[in-house]
């Protein structure tokens, strides 16, 4: 973790917030250096900005982790399901039965109750994909894979590659992030579900009828001046709420974890080394408990994201008349 670096240096209380922030945000953006500097991406960025589009194509740490998570998600699910299908005895192994349990739960309790018996098959792949992607990225944020590479790096400080600042290993060894704690990532996910629930309505009722369905019919006409703007705002608030909920939950948990650990350093700086040692067990116990809570939150938030997408799709399909 980032905090570990600073043990030897002077620590003051007001640094804690900065470390918590550094842990959560895209830290190699702060250093103004990307992990993978491909020339083609730089030129793409320049061309886009010349065209008037402020898009950064560069692969920062979060983008790299996003690729990593996608790779792991697709790899795990496809391998497990393929091996299960091609297996002769048809007995699911441990992980396969876990995935099967989640899929069955999602189908029975989420898809069939919210979207409906008839249409749920059309939208099932989307909901499953969202669920597993969010679940894997939440859980991978909790497994300190890259912190381990940092530990190896700190042991192998003699090697030249770890000394040089801002190369791939250096940046990665500053700890992995939860990609879903980045608000841009969750915004992209919410955009997908936004288009999904607009598409669901259009697919069922046709283009014009879907937009008419947004406001309930049969009201006295002056009321429409109030109802239509509210419904229109609600349309955009839904993905916004999805975005903020997931990012906020993940970010909040990680900030709290870092703050609990910084109690040790704060006590050490303010009250002396003995106080630091005394507070360490409590601090670590708190952080451990919070990590357990975060495991629970990781699953719940993935479920919530999938559930809300399903609910919104269901609302677009089953319009109250």
């Amino acid at each position: 973790m980032i905090v570990g670096e600073k043990i030897a240096e002077k620590w003051s209380m007001d640094q804690a917030a900065q470390y918590a922030k550094d842990h959560v945000i895209d830290s190699d953006k702060l250093a103004e250096k990307n992990i993978f500097d491909f020339e083609i991406l730089t030129t793409l960025t320049e061309k886009a900005s010349a065209f008037g589009l402020p898009i950064d194509f560069a692969i920062s740490k979060h983008v790299f982790l996003l690729f990593f998570v996608s790779f792991i998600t697709v790899g795990t699910i496809v391998t497990l399901v393929q091996s299960y299908i091609s297996h002769k005895k048809n007995i699911p192994n441990k992980f396969m039965s876990m995935i099967e349990m989640m899929v069955v739960y999602l189908r029975e309790d989420v898809l069939k109750t919210t979207i409906g018996n008839k249409e749920h098959r059309d939208w099932a792949p989307l909901i499953y994909t969202i669920f597993f992607f969010v679940l894997f990225s939440n859980i991978l944020g909790l497994i300190p894979i890259f912190d381990l590479s940092g530990l190896i790096g700190s042991l192998g400080y003699k090697f030249e590659i770890f000394k040089e600042k801002y190369n791939v290993l250096y940046v990665l060894s500053k700890g992995g992030n939860t990609v879903t704690a980045n608000i841009n990532v969750t915004f992209a996910l919410a955009t997908i579900s936004f288009f999904a629930f607009i598409g669901a309505g259009i697919k069922k009722y046709g283009f014009m009828q879907h937009w008419k369905n947004l406001a309930p019919s049969g009201l006295p006409w002056p009321l429409y001046f109030v109802v239509v703007p509210i419904e229109f705002m609600g349309l955009f608030i839904r993905p916004l709420a999805l975005t903020l909920r997931l990012a906020g939950n993940m970010m909040g948990g990680h900030i709290a974890l870092v703050i609990f650990i910084t109690f040790i350093f704060s006590a050490n700086a303010e009250l002396g080394a003995f106080a630091g040692f005394a507070i360490a067990p409590f601090s670590v116990a708190l952080a451990l408990g919070l990590t357990m809570l975060e495991l629970l939150v990781a699953v719940i938030q993935a479920y919530v994201f999938a559930l809300l997408t399903a609910v919104f799709i269901g609302m677009a399909i089953h319009v109250d008349h």
């Binding site: 309790d109 109750t113 909920r245 990012a247 939950n249 970010m251 909040g252 919530v304 559930l307 609910v311």
Partner: protein, 61 residues
């Protein structure tokens, strides 16, 4: 300050939901599964507002 207020609001909301759920399950134990999935949805909506406020207080403060 803002985070504290957000927590108070969400605490009251989720507490009320929990109260309702406990009563509903006690009255109709056979409908527990259905009630639970409805609970999740309501709790999420309450929590969403709280998180929005918490984030705002984090950004502004």
């Amino acid at each position: 300050m803002g985070a504290g207020l957000a927590v108070i609001g969400a605490g009251i909301g989720i507490g009320l939901i929990g109260y309702g759920v406990a009563q509903a399950i006690a009255r109709q134990p056979e409908a527990a599964g259905e009630i639970r999935s409805q609970t999740f949805l309501l709790a999420i909506l309450v929590e969403g507002a709280a998180i929005l406020l918490g984030l705002l207080s984090l950004v502004l403060g």
